[in-house]
């Protein structure tokens, strides 16, 4: 990961204004981060991660869609009526037996929110942002995800221009399930890559 990767696209003026107010008010102790995040999270379901789960489930049952998704995810999700309002590119990365993908934004909290909703508290936290790059296996373990030693872990750093959506592996035992039932197995965390998709015997959170 030694390549020189800069977040060259400027954050929008609006986003900078909000970040400025938020950081100053938090520093002054006038608002607490946990309370703020709890409130934001309360509305998280308004935009997703149901959209992302529908995308993943469709990719599991429709090979043509899957091919288009892997080639150009922004265009593929547009087929389902989802788009990135800021015009950023969406890239789908697929988990296999050989490769496990996990997404971070080391700079701030760039996140594919048109498909996943608002980012969870931990995604925006400094420890996650710095540690998942240095020691991804240890971080994944804390999320209860143990990978075989042969599995390569790829960490994708989101930017203002490019957002990543992890396509988790279709769970064993889900062969006869409908697309809708499959979508319920696709948790937000599995599309960030810190967990795997739920087993058909588990309830979606």
């Amino acid at each position: 990961m030694g390549h020189n990767h800069k977040h060259s696209a400027p954050l929008s003026d609006t986003v900078l204004r909000v970040k400025s107010l938020e950081s100053l008010l938090v520093e002054k102790g006038l608002v607490d981060t946990a309370g703020l995040d709890a409130l934001v999270e309360r509305y998280e379901h308004q935009v997703g991660p149901r959209n992302g789960a529908a995308v993943v489930a469709k990719s599991w049952v429709d090979p043509g869609f899957k091919e288009r998704l892997m080639k150009d995810a922004s265009a593929a999700i547009a087929e389902l009526g989802y788009s990135g309002a800021q015009g950023e590119e969406l890239v789908a990365v697929e988990n296999t037996d050989a490769v496990h993908n996990v997404v971070v934004c080391t700079l701030c909290s760039c996140y594919p929110w048109p498909v996943l909703g608002l980012p969870p508290v931990w995604y925006k936290s400094a420890p996650y942002r710095s540690r998942v790059v240095r020691e991804p296996r240890a971080v994944l373990k804390e999320f209860g995800t143990e990978l075989s030693a042969d599995t390569e872990v790829r960490v994708w750093d989101s930017t203002a221009e490019t957002r990543y959506l992890v396509i988790p592996q279709r769970p064993v035992g889900s062969e006869n399930m409908s697309e809708e039932a499959l979508a319920a197995l696709v948790s937000r965390d599995s599309m960030i890559g810190v967990t795997v998709a739920l087993n058909p015997t588990e309830e979606a959170a």
Partner: protein
């Protein structure tokens, strides 16, 4: 119903059956900051409605539309106004911090967390 819920209805916030609706994360963040400052007693919803109402009126006069984006741009402008009017933050402080974030955004390298350099 809480005062907050009543205030939301009076302010005609974009919403569906389940509650407020946001198009982008910054909208929810600006909204949440406002709610938190109100909860901790920094201003009342009445004071907020006056300032926010003035922003909406100005936007309407300028011919800006009333979609979510414009609604929350007014919201953000009102939040900046009320924190300076109440001496919670100064305009200079906000401007400095914004430059700090802009600088950090442009200069942070891959693999490092964004840090504000307070020397700037």
């Amino acid at each position: 119903m809480s005062d907050f819920d009543k205030a939301l209805i009076e302010m005609a916030i974009p919403r569906n059956d389940e509650g407020p609706v946001f198009d982008e994360p910054w909208q929810a963040q600006a909204f949440a900051l406002t709610v938190k400052l109100n909860e901790s007693g920094h201003f009342t919803w009445g004071e907020w409605a006056d300032i926010f109402g003035a922003e909406i009126a100005r936007a309407s006069k300028d011919g800006r539309g009333c979609g979510n984006e414009n609604y929350y741009l007014c919201w953000l402008a009102a939040l900046e106004t009320i924190v300076t009017a109440k001496n919670i933050l100064s305009a200079a402080q906000i401007a400095d911090r914004k430059e700090g974030w802009r600088h950090a955004n442009e200069h942070t390298e891959y693999g490092k967390s964004i840090e504000l350099d307070h020397a700037h």
